[in-house]
């Protein structure tokens, strides 16, 4: 009867299986609690990710209709279930309670018990974060001038998102999410992450440029306290004034005890002004350049190369026209990105295409690999520029 109820023998568990001595045997049996145990799962992962799990810095993220991803503080991994047709017998360590075999019981065989037969294992594949949804969520209700000046105490919070709400809805690591918020120039207002309405953003930048002229400030040495004070007097909330500095300026000197110093970022300011001009539609290049140069503040020079990835030029007859086509408005998944690019223009020269594809990131695929996968490259002669078209 011993063999029918092997647990009566000495229970050894996983230690017994892994530490089995030469010239000895142990019995492998079904555990007294053997069953499907669907709450037990196996996850294979790289040794280097193990400390992240041990220090509880790992989460699974996803909506019920999405495939789950696993996020470390900085990276995102797809979780794939890999099934097996082998019988994988899972043996837990022995219960501390039933341990303690004494040598006198040597005639009874040590037993290791199988708790379940596992159907497979989850594996991780590094993926690009899915942050396109972030823009979609935050664009529902951009922060407007009207909202900033309204005195209503309890505003409706529908369609607004706190950090935790975003973490719940987006499949991206914390670091990737913060980067996504930064690239959208989002700002936290009353606990909610918001993007500012374009008109409002124009208004505050115009005001800042205006104040710089009025007060005869140097665009390379802007005193934070002064700027914020003046913008506040102009009717902009303090946090929005600070946000404006962060979006259009770079900090040159961290103030300790005194006010921080900032300088206007030439490229960001010029690009913003160009976008504002072209918002109405396409324009002859000469007209555009003229308007643009006039808008740019003294001490800065507008340079057409700044507009890489922001505008495209097309020839209509003898004339060149420019129009807005911003890389930040394009999806971040390569297939969708290339599909829109080739709809916009069936053939691309490398110098035009490069600004629209350089921020595509696919783990495990180089940028050459991306081009090979999604484009057809033609080069009529060895000297001519290569041209890329859809595959």
């Amino acid at each position: 009867m011993d063999t029918i109820l092997p647990q009566i023998g000495c229970s050894g568990g996983a230690e017994a299986v892994l530490g089995i001595q030469p010239n000895s045997s142990i019995s492998i049996a079904y555990h007294s609690l053997f069953g499907p145990h669907n709450d037990l799962m196996l996850l294979e992962l790289d040794e280097k990710l193990l400390p992240e799990v041990l220090h509880q810095r790992v989460t699974l993220r996803g909506q019920p209709d999405e495939d789950a991803v696993l996020c470390t503080p900085s990276k995102t991994y797809a979780v794939k279930f890999v099934g097996t047709s082998n019988s994988v017998l899972l043996i837990p360590p022995s219960d501390k309670a039933s341990q303690g075999c004494n040598k006198e019981n040597d005639d009874k065989m040590m037993v290791a018990s199988v708790i379940k037969v596992v159907p497979g294992c989850m594996e991780l594949v590094e993926v690009a974060p899915k942050v396109d949804k972030l823009k979609l969520l935050l664009s529902q209700y951009p922060y407007t001038f009207g909202e900033a000046v309204s005195e209503e105490g309890e505003k409706t919070k529908m369609g607004l998102y706190r950090w935790d709400d975003l973490v719940d809805r987006l499949q991206a690591s914390d670091e990737e999410l913060r980067f996504g918020l930064k690239s959208l120039s989002a700002v936290e207002i009353d606990g909610y992450w918001r993007i500012l309405d374009d008109k409002y953003m124009n208004m505050i930048l115009d005001m800042l440029l205006h104040d710089i002229i009025l007060n005869d400030w140097s665009i390379n040495a802007l005193n934070e306290d002064e700027i914020v004070g003046v913008l506040e007097a102009d009717g902009f909330p303090r946090n929005i004034a600070k946000h404006c500095l962060q979006v259009y300026c770079d900090k040159v000197d961290e103030g300790v005890g005194v006010s921080s110093m900032w300088k206007l970022d030439e490229r960001r300011v010029c690009v913003h002004l160009a976008r504002d001009i072209l918002n109405g539609g396409k324009m002859k290049i000469e007209v555009f350049i003229e308007k643009w140069r006039r808008k740019v503040p003294d001490g800065m020079s507008a340079n057409f190369e700044m507009l890489e990835g922001e505008v495209l030029m097309e020839k209509l007859g003898m004339e060149s026209w420019v129009y807005l086509f911003s890389v930040s408005s394009l999806p971040s998944t390569p297939a969708e990105r290339f599909s829109i690019l080739f709809k916009e223009r069936p053939k691309w020269e490398w110098k035009d295409l490069q600004p629209y594809v350089r921020n595509l990131r696919v783990p495990g695929l180089s940028s050459e690999g991306l081009l090979l996968k999604y484009t057809r490259r033609t080069q009529p002669t060895a000297e001519s520029e290569p041209v890329f078209s859809a595959r």
């Binding site: 063999t3 029918i4 109820l5 092997p6 568990g13 996983a14 230690e15 299986v17 892994l18 089995i20 030469p22 010239n23 000895s24 045997s25 142990i26 019995s27 492998i28 049996a29 079904y30 007294s32 609690l33 053997f34 069953g35 669907n38 709450d39 037990l40 799962m41 196996l42 996850l43 294979e44 992962l45 040794e47 193990l50 799990v53 041990l54 220090h55 509880q56 790992v58 989460t59 699974l60 993220r61 909506q63 696993l70 047709s85 082998n86 019988s87 994988v88 017998l89 899972l90 043996i91 837990p92 360590p93 065989m109 290791a112 018990s113 199988v114 037969v117 596992v118 935790d164 719940d168």
Partner: protein, 142 residues
């Protein structure tokens, strides 16, 4: 949704679990099919000091080796938490939160990838009682 992966065992203390892996399926005799609990599957033997093992299931013997896994495998347990103090405004939106707890780690398995060898009567001297006791036979696909 956002599921925290916890680790209740702490660094360096995660108990090691084991895997015994074989091709095909272990099938119990029909009379045992629904009450496998505590039933013996077979005997695992390490006949020498080498990392070579035999696994005897009924009249079949498998030969295998101990393999160190290239990547560790975590054993995770799904835990349902009920938030009692948190009244869901939605009402029947399922009020259970889920956590995953890392309860063990697997670094080695004993892998039997050969087809079973039939053990003929030398051990068959122990009569059919043994077969019934172990109540298992192995079946290998093709």
């Amino acid at each position: 949704m956002h599921i925290q992966v916890k680790c209740s065992c702490g660094e360096g203390n995660c108990p090691e679990w084991a895997i015994v892996e074989l091709q095909g399926v272990v099938e119990a005799q029909p009379s045992f099919e629904n009450r496998l609990q505590s039933l013996q599957i077979g005997v695992l033997c390490r006949p020498s000091s080498q990392e070579s093992y035999t696994f005897t299931i009924g009249y079949h013997e498998l030969i295998g080796t101990k393999v160190s896994l290239k990547k560790p495998i975590l054993v995770l347990k799904k835990i349902k938490l009920r938030n009692e103090d948190e009244e869901e405004d939605g009402g029947d939106v399922d009020a259970t939160r889920v956590e995953l707890d890392m309860i063990g780690i697997i670094r080695h398995k004993i892998l039997f990838k050969t087809r079973p060898k039939a053990l003929i009567s030398s051990k068959g001297a122990q009569p059919s009682a043994k077969e019934k006791a172990s109540a298992s036979s192995s079946k290998t696909p093709h």
